[in-house]
Amino acid sequence: MPERVTVTVNGARVDVACGSTVAVAMILAGQPCRASVNGESRGPLCAMGICFECCVAINGVPHRRSCQVFCENGMEVRTDG
């Protein structure tokens, strides 16, 4: 298993240690996750799949909880629609 994996967050490459969740990639990328219904930025809060504040689109599937998904090489993460 490679020690590092690379994903993209809104098109920008992010390198993370193997075994990191997408939430970690979001923090390293300095990007917020979902937007609230009023447009406020949200990010990981509970890190255990309960709060849904860390949702992002992963490989085109919207509303995935980034704290519950491990990074894989080439994964595309988006928060911009």
Binding site: V37, F52, C55, V61, P62, H63
Partner: protein, 376 residues
């Protein structure tokens, strides 16, 4: 202790009671609106908020059509958070048999001055691309809409208060009869007219009233903007909803302004507890995916249940309760009380003030229910 000086005391501040309070107050009557909990916290908080014209019977059509027009004229006065959107309904026909029903419905509506549009398979696909292929078509009713019921109830209660109505929350009513409302804290409120608008629990306050609870489940998804544009209801719904005893599910989905999708619907008799019933819930979601397969990959945020107030003939009870001259009913609205709240308020207040109602009221009078009981 007693509070006097009211002409009308309404028990139940759901959307029906709130609409009645608004109508009474605007016509100059001194009214108090009472609820043991918050405004719009009963079935009103659980409902879908589909403002829909239905034609199970002529009387049902008359009241829903009248009410739909009242909602449209109220629309400019509704604040943003009521989320009124005139998205239209599409009655979805799966096969030729249901297309025949589409054409019957279109004729029925157009004879009564309601505009509709018969859709073939291709037109249906264009309007709602996420429906499965090979459906027969549908009927678009462009004047139908959706709103967010608890906020609508709040707005109606606020309007009532602006016209001088009093709102009393947080104390249950134990009895209401002979011009007197007895509160659980011992307090009494007297009024010339009492209105039982307690929804599905109305019989607890007016024994002998034939209203039964009919449980429903709803699911709300996360936000998927533009996935769905109209409220979609399967026409098989009619066959299902007509079954008065068996549990049933139907494809019924609603676009919310946030991009969320509200998924219904189920109907159950004899289920008195609020718990989510996973068997009927999975049947309901299965049914919705038969029509819209992509719903299956969406994430659901919340599931809940609510109770419709069902009468034996599926028409609401609006008018005097035989045997107590002070007592009037405004309940039994089954799955249409959000829609018919405004029409109900009009014709109830017409009866009490002696004004001429704009639609015939006989089909909704509680005395028809009492007669049935005698014969039953």
């Amino acid at each position: 202790m007693s509070d006097d000086g009211y002409e009308v005391a309404i028990v139940g501040a759901g959307i029906v009671g709130a609409a009645c309070a608004d109508e009474f107050a605007r016509r100059g009557l001194r009214v108090i609106l009472i609820d043991r909990e918050a405004v719009g916290s009963g079935a009103t908080a659980a409902g879908m908020g589909h403002i829909v014209v239905m034609d199970d019977s002529d009387a049902q059509f008359a009241l829903t059509h009248y009410s739909q027009r009242l909602w449209q004229s109220l629309r400019p006065e509704l604040p943003e958070d009521v989320e009124y959107d005139q998205c239209g309904t599409i009655w979805v026909a799966a096969d030729e048999e249901e297309m025949a029903e589409v054409r019957r419905k279109a004729d029925y509506y157009s004879e009564r001055n309601l505009v509709t549009d018969v859709l073939d398979e291709a037109q249906l696909k264009t309007l709602e691309p996420n429906l499965r292929p090979a459906l027969a078509g549908g009927l678009l009713v462009p004047d139908d809409g959706v709103l967010y019921p608890p906020c609508a109830a709040r707005v109606l209660a606020e309007r009532a208060q602006q016209h001088g109505a009093k709102l009393q929350l947080g104390c249950a009513v134990e009895r209401m009869e002979q011009g007197c409302v007895q509160m659980s804290d011992g307090h009494e409120i007297r009024a010339e007219f009492l209105v039982n608008a307690a929804g599905a629990v109305a019989p607890a306050l007016t024994p002998g009233l034939e209203v039964k609870k009919r449980k429903g489940h709803l699911v709300i998804t996360d936000r998927y903007p533009k996935f769905l544009r109209h409220q979609l209801v399967e026409l098989g719904y009619l066959k299902n909803a007509h079954a008065v005893t068996a549990d049933s599910v139907a494809f019924n989905v609603q676009p919310r302004r946030t991009g969320q999708i509200l998924i219904g619907s189920s109907r159950q008799y004899g289920a008195e507890d609020k718990e989510v019933d996973h068997d009927i819930l999975s049947r309901m979601l299965q049914r919705s995916q038969e029509y819209m397969p992509a719903l299956g990959s969406m994430s659901a945020m919340r599931t809940w249940t609510g109770f419709r107030a069902a009468t034996p003939d599926k028409l609401p009870l609006i008018g005097p309760w035989p045997g107590d001259k002070s007592l009037f009913l405004a309940t039994g609205h089954e799955g249409l009380g959000i829609t018919t709240s405004l029409g109900t308020a009009r014709i109830l207040v017409d009866q009490i003030t002696g004004a001429q109602p704009e639609i015939p009221i006989e089909p909704y009078l509680p005395s028809r229910n009492a007669k049935e009981q005698v014969h039953a």
